[in-house]
Structures are given as C-alpha cells and as structure tokens.
Symmetry: C2
Amino acid sequence: MALPDSYVFYQTYVEERLATILDELPVGEALRRAAGYSLMAGGKRIRPVLLLTMYSSLTKRLTCCTCPTASDMDHVDPNPLHAACALEMVHTYSLIHDDLPAMDDDDLRRGRPTLHRVAGEAMAIMAGDALLTTSSLVLAQRYGRHPELATTLTALLSHAALRMVEGQVMDTIPATDKPRTVEYLGTLVDNKTGALLTAALSMAGAIAHSGATTLGHLDDLGRYLGQLFQITDDILDVTGEAGRLGKTPGKDAAQEKLTFVTLLGLQGARERASKTRDAALSILPKLDIDPRFFLGLINFIHDRSY
Amino acid sequence: MALPDSYVFYQTYVEERLATILDELPVGEALRRAAGYSLMAGGKRIRPVLLLTMYSSLTKRLTCCTCPTASDMDHVDPNPLHAACALEMVHTYSLIHDDLPAMDDDDLRRGRPTLHRVAGEAMAIMAGDALLTTSSLVLAQRYGRHPELATTLTALLSHAALRMVEGQVMDTIPATDKPRTVEYLGTLVDNKTGALLTAALSMAGAIAHSGATTLGHLDDLGRYLGQLFQITDDILDVTGEAGRLGKTPGKDAAQEKLTFVTLLGLQGARERASKTRDAALSILPKLDIDPRFFLGLINFIHDRSY
C-alpha cells in the first residue's frame, strides 16, 4: 500500500520550511551544518504531516498550509506549519541523542551514518540541544501574534517532549531489570513514541480551536498510532532489510531488548498490530473529518516494510 | 568581600521553588533523582538571583518575590520566580552536558562527582534534556495568565540558550584551530556565559515592563557581567583551590585552552577584570534603581576566590 497522495504534498512543505528555519538560525556554520545533517536527512516526517493534515481536516481548509513562504504575520489565522516544524525538530533531536554511544549506540540512521559518527559525540550532543532549544524559539517567535496559542503549543510540545525523555529513560533500564510485561512496554511506548504523535494531533486541535471532546479523541488516536508504529517497528527489526530500513536490523534480539516481538513472538506481535490498527480506525468516525487520509496512513503504518 | 545580604534571601526562595518544580515533574523517580542531583546541588544561583533582584529594583517592590509558595494564578502581576527557576534549569542542563566525557570530561562539579560519574552518561544526557525541556514547560504553564509575557520570556530564554550552545561549540573547537585573539574569545564568552546572564536581566526587564532604553542597558550589563565572570573564572583556574572551587583547577593550562589568562597572562587578565568591572559599574547610574546590590555583586565577582 502506498502513502496517501497528500502525504508528499505536506512533506515537501515541511522540508522547505525546515530548510528556511535552519538558514535563519542565529548560530555559526559548524553547528548549522551538524543540525542540518540530521534535520534535512529526509525521513518520513510523519509527525508534521499528521499535524498539518489533521489541522486541514478539522478546519476544512487547506489555504494556511499552502503558503509556507509567507510569514505568519501576514495571516489572521496562525499557520500550523511552524508548529509542525517545531515538532519535527524535537523528534530529530531525540534521534540524535538516542543514537549516541552512551545510549543506543547506532551507526546508521535514515540510511546514512549517524551524526556522532560523522561530526563526533560532542557536536551530536550540542546539535541535539540546539534543535530542542530552537523548537521553543520557533513557537515563541512564529506565533507572536497569537500569544495564547503560542503558550498552549509550547506547553503541549514541552510536556510531550518530557514524556518522551521519560520513555527513553524507561527504555534505557537494563533489559534484565525491566518488568517483562505488555503493560510496562505499553506505558514505555506511550511515552517514548506516543507522546510526540499525540502532540502532533493535539497541537493541530489547539490551532484549529477544537473542543475538549475532539481533543480527547485526538489523544486516543495519537496513542494508538504510537503503539501501532512501535509494534511494526519491532516486527521490522526481525523481518526488515538494512537497505530499506536505513538502520541495522536484528539488534533488538541481539540485545535482548524488551519489544512486542520478544514478549509476544512474531505472530503475537502481528495480531496486536492488527488489533491496534482497528482501535485507531474506530476513532475516525468520532471526528468530524474526511477520514480518507488517516485510513490510508493507519493502514500504511500497519503494512509498512521500512 | 561578602555577598550582598539580600543574595541569600533570594537564593533560598529559588531553592525552595526548584524543589517544588522537581517534585511536581511528570516523570519517574529515576529521572527525577538524576535531574535533582544536579539541580539541587547548591551552586551560587547567580542567574536567578540576578533576575529577581533586577525585577525588584526596576519595580521598586519586593512583594511578588516574597510569596513563592502561592501560585502565580493568585497574582495580578506575574511572579518573576518562575522565570528565575526556568533560567536556572537551562544553566544546570548546560553544566550537565558540558561535563560529559565527550565534552569537557569533568569529574567534579560543585564539590561533588558530576552526574555522569554517579548515574552514567546516558542518564546525564537525558536528565539534561529533561531540564531544558522543563524550562519551557514552566514558562508556558506558570505564565498562562500572561500569555504575551510567556511568549516573550520563552523567546528570550530560548534565544539565549541557543547562543549558549553556539558558545559551547566555539569552545569545543580544538585549541590549535581557534583564533588566539581576545576578540574571538570575547565573542565566545558573550555566547557561552554572557547570553544567560543577559537573559536574566532582560527577562526581569520584560516582567517589569521596561522600555527599550532600559532593556538596552540591561543587555550591556549582562554582557559585562559575563565577561567579568569568565575572566575571574579563568584566573581562579590558576589561583584557586579544588576544595573551595568545587572543581579541578589547573585544567585550562594542562589542556592549552584559550582563556584570558593563557592569552593575556595572569596580570593582564587581572587588569582586564578590573576594566570590565568598571564598565559594568558605569551602567548602574543609567538605570533607575537602587544600585547597592549590583555594586556589591560586581565587586564580589571581581574579588571572588571560588
């Protein structure tokens, strides 16, 4: 199954705006180059695309997302693209720090050597710090005409980013010390993977002025997407190819990591993936949106091979 | 020369509020303990004290700083204490990351083993990330009733934190590749040390609704304080004692670091410290404040032995 058509459409806008943010960053060339190496390495951009699509779906309009070169100062309505980029910067910083030798010690990311392999550990630590910092700066500066929204978005993104660190801490506990239960792994995944996906949807909801009921559904959808994404990631670690994955497969089993596959077996993990897909799909009718993009995305994550 | 009397007064309020923020952090005990190890390790708290004192001096009032246990929601005026704590969290994260083996590789900080020595590198990286993230969360949550101020403070703090990373990048360039000039070192120090001190004063100015002229003077004062602080730090690396310093002296010379002492010699550095002190003192009459605290502080930094 291919990605929904509009995916590439939004992905391109995010790429363009991220490049602009990087160009305008008030830092020297060495730091800009290091941050850019990871930030502009492609990737699925799933979180920003999710934010932009949900915003358009909730507001039934595309216009604000289709003029990324104009400053948000020109708009009466805030442009969700800045929030999408801030979110992607938080995600990228987390990948850079997670890949460090002291953490997951990964050599490959998105098909290329990890940042610390090409620029050194010190620069990788600092580039991650700079991207995390810039995410707050972007929200504060780009939503300056909408300070209440800026404050809400900063709170949502910071809270999610903090949960993500907590998830990484849970993940870093030696495998032998972790409770080997689906419940523990579920909480870990809700923090490590679900928090930022939930942030994508709840930030979209905040920009679209959604009410509490909708925001609750968006939270649920984000959590299911996180679970689905991680279960398929665990499955791909067993079944995937290094070239397509862009990272080294087979590491989870080698490190005896706590994953849905090591807990439930390959077949059990596949069944859980299907159940989680169905749970995610069941949210869509509760939202007043055209569900097609999300139907396609949920099925794509479920069926993906990279 | 002793610290000004009111220093300890403000320091205590900051300690108490930081402990509360730590208690309320939505993370598990392992991460809370690691973050708390560094955040509650004492230290001079110079940045938050500077912020609180400048706020009181500019507004001619003490009340908002003297009720840290009350929520800022109870106040018509925003409480500068939250900004002071956010600033200290950014400073603490930077110390944790700077101390890492891949960076300065320091074993001692504030008289105790560095965080990565007691909790491991992975936890030190994550605790730093969590503190940086929490600083944005605190500003967004605690100034929720003043969203324009929250946005301004987030922009000021993020911008300063980004400059600080840039300063650290400049500092990390191998000593042999750095221009060995006072100009280069001055820019490095403005970024690495001056940015957060300037943020302390400009955040105070923002909370106090200061005008552009005052904010300009506060910027200058912050920059001079940063220079003075770093020059005396460089001098203490040669003349200080490990027990009082709380870190290992003599490392700068051993690593052939670019410092004011290695550039100008001990006597030259001392002369530069005195000139910088005088420049800082010359700002005070331009501000409509009782200058006594700042007179004392500037002289204290100039004369300090730890």
